[in-house]
C-alpha cells in the first residue's frame, strides 16, 4: 500500500472509539436495567427536568420508594440542562423504543412536551404528567391522552406566600419579584397566586418583577441590580428557593440583612436553614418526594387496567420559623 500511515490512522481511530465505547459500557454496567428479562415486572420510565436539583432528586427518591414497594422496574432519566426541551424529547423518544409500559414525565416546557407525549400516545404508552402541567391548548391541538396529572397547587402556593407577606409587612411596603424562566406554567401560576393575594392590599406596591431563570447565581445578580434601582426595598418574593438564596446573598453584600423580607418557594434544605437563621422569612413547601411516589403509583394503576384520578393534588404548606421548629 502506498499510504501505510493513513491505513494505521483508520485502524487506530477504530480502536480508540471501540475503547471509548467499552469504557461507557463498563461505567454503565451497574446501572443497566435489563428490560428483556424483567419478567412480568411492569416497566416504568420517569423522565425528569433535571437531576442536578434537590427538588428532582427528592422526587426521584419518592419514585424509587414506590417502585420498590410495587415491584416496578423503574428507569429515571433527565437531560443535562433543565431547559433543554429538545434533549428531553430525545430521551422520551429513546425510552419509547425500549418498550416501557408507562411513562411519567415532568415537562421541561409545558408546550414543547406535547410533541413527545403525542409520540408516546401513538406507541400506546400511557403518560402520567407530574409537577408541570401540559399547556391545555397544546394538549388539545395534539389531541393528547394523559392518564393523570400529579402536581402541587402552585397558584395556591403563590397565594399563601402573598398573604404571608401582607401579614408580615402589615399591609404596606415595596416588593420585588424574582421570576422563573418565562412562559413556564409552574412559575406563572405562582406569580398569579402571589399577585392576586397582594392586590387586595393597596399599601403594597410591586416595584420590580424580573426573571432570574430559577438559578441561584442569577438570583444574586438580578436582585443586586434590583436593589441598585430600589435601595429602600422592603420585601422580595422569589418563585423558587435557589433564586431566594441568591437574593439573600445580594442582601448580605448590600449590608441589609434582616431589613428585607424574603419569601421563597420549595422549602429546600438550604432554605429551611436560612429560615432558622432568620435570613429568610418563609418558603412554600412542596412535597416532591410525595409527588414522585404518587406518579409511579398512578402509572402502575394504569398498567394494571385501572383509571387514576385525572388530577391529583400534592399537599402544599408554608414553612416559617414557627412552623419549622
Amino acid at each position: 500500500m502506498r499510504n501505510p500511515i493513513r491505513i494505521q490512522s483508520a485502524a487506530l481511530r477504530a480502536i480508540v472509539l471501540l475503547l471509548a465505547g467499552l469504557a461507557a459500557v463498563t461505567a454503565a454496567c451497574n446501572r443497566v436495567t435489563q428490560p428483556a428479562s424483567s419478567g412480568g415486572r411492569p416497566r416504568v420510565a420517569f423522565v425528569m427536568k433535571t437531576l442536578n436539583h434537590p427538588f428532582f432528586l427528592d422526587m426521584q427518591r419518592g419514585a424509587e420508594d414506590a417502585a420498590k414497594r410495587l415491584d416496578v422496574d423503574l428507569v429515571v432519566q433527565a437531560a443535562e440542562r433543565e431547559i433543554d426541551v429538545e434533549k428531553q424529547m430525545q430521551i422520551i423518544e429513546n425510552l419509547i423504543q425500549t418498550g416501557v409500559q408507562a411513562l411519567c414525565v415532568t415537562p421541561s416546557g409545558s408546550k414543547e412536551i406535547a410533541s413527545a407525549i403525542a409520540k408516546a400516545n401513538r406507541a400506546k404508552i400511557p403518560v402520567v404528567v407530574a409537577d408541570t402541567r401540559v399547556d391545555p391548548k397544546a394538549a388539545q391541538d395534539a389531541q393528547l391522552t394523559l392518564a393523570s396529572f400529579i402536581g402541587s397547587d402552585n397558584y395556591e402556593g403563590g397565594r399563601l406566600a402573598g398573604e404571608h407577606l401582607v401579614k408580615v409587612r402589615q399591609g404596606k411596603g415595596t416588593v420585588a419579584i424574582l421570576e422563573g424562566i418565562p412562559g413556564h406554567e409552574t412559575g406563572d401560576s405562582r406569580l398569579r397566586g402571589f399577585r392576586d393575594a397582594v392586590k387586595a392590599s393597596p399599601g403594597i406596591t410591586i416595584v420590580a418583577s424580573q426573571p432570574a431563570n430559577w438559578e441561584r447565581d442569577q438570583g444574586f445578580t438580578v436582585f443586586q441590580n434590583i436593589l441598585q434601582a430600589n435601595p429602600s426595598l422592603d420585601a422580595v418574593f422569589a418563585c423558587n428557593d435557589l433564586m431566594a438564596l441568591g437574593a439573600i446573598e445580594a442582601i448580605a453584600a448590600a449590608g441589609r440583612t434582616g431589613k428585607i423580607t424574603v419569601i421563597g418557594f420549595d422549602a429546600l434544605e438550604d432554605a429551611r436553614k436560612a429560615i432558622a437563621a432568620g435570613t429568610m422569612d418563609a418558603s412554600v413547601a412542596q412535597s416532591p418526594r410525595e409527588m414522585g411516589r404518587m406518579a409511579v403509583e398512578a402509572a402502575v394503576q394504569v398498567i394494571k387496567g385501572g383509571t387514576p384520578a385525572a388530577e391529583q393534588k400534592v399537599p402544599i404548606q408554608l414553612i416559617t420559623k414557627q412552623s419549622n421548629q
Binding site: 502506498r2 499510504n3 500511515i5 493513513r6 491505513i7 494505521q8 490512522s9 483508520a10 487506530l12 481511530r13 477504530a14 480508540v16 472509539l17 471501540l18 475503547l19 471509548a20 465505547g21 467499552l22 469504557a23 461507557a24 459500557v25 461505567a27 454503565a28 446501572r31 443497566v32 428490560p35 428483556a36 437531576l51 428507569v75 432519566q77 433527565a78 437531560a79 443535562e80 440542562r81 431547559i83 433543554d84 426541551v85 429538545e86 424529547m89 430525545q90 430521551i91 423518544e93 429513546n94 425510552l95 423504543q97 425500549t98 418498550g99 416546557g109 408546550k111 414543547e112 406535547a114 410533541s115 399547556d135 397544546a138 391541538d141 395534539a142 424562566i181 418565562p182 412562559g183 426573571p211
Partner: protein, 321 residues
C-alpha cells in the same frame, strides 16, 4: 460555483482512509449496542436516531466549512434561537410557510455575514467575533420573543418534522439532501477549493490571487444559513420556537466536526466525516438512553470520545511531520 478538477487520487485515498477509520468506530459502536440491548437495532430506533441527529448534523455542515477555513463559529446556537423565533412569529402572523422559512434563513445568513465582515474587514479573531455574535443573537432572540416561547403552528409546517416519505422521517431526508449538495460544493466547486486553500495557508491564498475576504465572509454566511436551517427543523419538531433554544449547539457541532477528522488548524476535513461524527454522538446518546445510563455518565463518555478522536489525529500528525 464552477466545477473544478477533482483532487489527485492519492489525496482522495488518504482522505477516505481517515473517514474509513471514523466509520469503523461508528460501526463498532453500533455492534456493541446491538449486543447490549435488543432495542437498538430496530428500524424504528435507527430512524429515531437519524431524526434526532439531523439538527446537529445540519449545524455541523456550516461548522465544517468554517473550521476547514481555519475559523470557528461559536454563534451557531444563538443563531438557531434567533432564526427560530423569527420563523415562529412569522408563522403565527399568518405568513405563508415558504416565506416564513425564507425570512428565518435570511436572518441566519445575515448574522453569519456580519460575523464574516467582523473577521475580515474588522480583523477580529473568529473566536471573538462569533463569541460576540453568540451573545448579541441570543439577546435579540430573547428581546424579540420577550423571553417567551412562540408555539402552536399549523399542520403543513409541522410536516417538516412529522412527515414521512416511504417511512423515512422528513428531517432525515432534508439532512441527506443537504449533505449531498454541500459535499458537492465543498469537493467540486471553486468555493470549496478556496475554503481548503484559505484554511491551509491564508497568506499564500491571497498571494496566489484568491479574493480571500469575500470568500471568508461567505463561509460564515453559510454557517449562519445552516444554523437557520437547523432552526426550521427544530421549530417544527417541538412545535415551538424558543429564544433559549440551541444552547451548547456550537460545542456539539464542533465535536461532530472534529470527531469526523476535520482539523481545527484548518485546511483539511470532510463533510462525510462530520456526518459520521454527528452520528457517533447521536448513537452514543441514544444507546446510553436505551441502556438506562444517567445523563451524567453520558457527558463523560461523549467527552472521552471527543478527546480520543482528536488525540489520534494529533499523534498521527506528529509522526507524519
Amino acid at each position: 460555483m464552477t466545477p473544478v478538477a477533482a483532487p489527485h487520487w492519492s489525496a482522495r485515498l488518504a482522505r477516505s482512509g481517515r473517514q474509513l477509520g471514523t466509520l469503523a468506530g461508528l460501526v463498532a459502536l453500533c455492534l456493541l449496542l446491538w449486543a447490549l440491548t435488543p432495542f437498538f437495532l430496530t428500524t424504528s430506533n435507527l430512524l429515531n436516531v437519524l431524526e434526532q441527529t439531523s439538527i446537529n448534523a445540519i449545524v455541523a455542515v456550516g461548522m465544517t466549512f468554517v473550521i476547514i477555513s481555519s475559523g470557528i463559529d461559536l454563534s451557531v446556537g444563538s443563531i438557531v434561537a434567533l432564526a427560530g423565533v423569527i420563523l415562529g412569529s412569522a408563522l403565527q402572523a399568518g405568513w405563508p410557510v415558504p416565506l416564513a422559512i425564507a425570512a428565518a434563513l435570511a436572518v441566519g445568513t445575515v448574522c453569519g455575514l456580519v460575523n464574516g465582515v467582523l473577521i475580515t474587514a474588522g480583523r477580529l479573531p473568529p473566536f471573538i467575533a462569533t463569541l460576540g455574535m453568540m451573545s448579541v443573537a441570543r439577546g435579540l432572540a430573547l428581546m424579540y420573543a420577550e423571553g417567551r416561547p412562540i408555539s402552536g403552528f399549523a399542520e403543513p409546517f409541522r410536516q417538516l418534522a412529522t412527515g414521512r416519505v416511504l417511512g423515512i422521517p422528513a428531517p432525515v431526508l432534508i439532512t441527506a439532501g443537504l449533505y449531498v449538495f454541500a459535499h458537492f460544493v465543498l469537493a467540486r466547486t471553486v468555493f470549496g477549493r478556496y475554503t481548503y486553500a484559505i484554511g491551509g495557508n491564508e497568506e499564500a491564498s491571497r498571494l496566489s490571487g484568491i479574493a480571500v475576504r469575500p470568500y471568508k465572509t461567505a463561509i460564515y454566511g453559510v454557517s449562519g444559513l445552516m444554523s437557520a436551517g437547523a432552526a426550521v427543523i427544530l421549530t417544527a419538531r417541538l412545535n415551538s420556537a424558543q429564544p433559549t433554544a440551541g444552547v451548547m449547539y456550537e460545542l456539539d457541532a464542533i465535536a461532530a466536526t472534529v470527531i469526523g477528522g476535520t482539523s481545527l488548524l484548518g485546511g483539511e476535513g470532510t463533510l462525510v466525516g462530520a456526518l459520521i461524527g454527528a452520528l457517533i454522538m447521536g448513537v452514543l446518546r441514544n444507546g446510553l438512553n436505551l441502556l438506562g445510563v444517567s445523563s451524567f455518565v453520558q457527558q463523560v463518555v461523549i467527552g472521552v470520545v471527543i478527546i480520543g478522536a482528536v488525540l489520534i489525529d494529533t499523534a498521527l500528525k506528529r509522526r507524519r511531520a
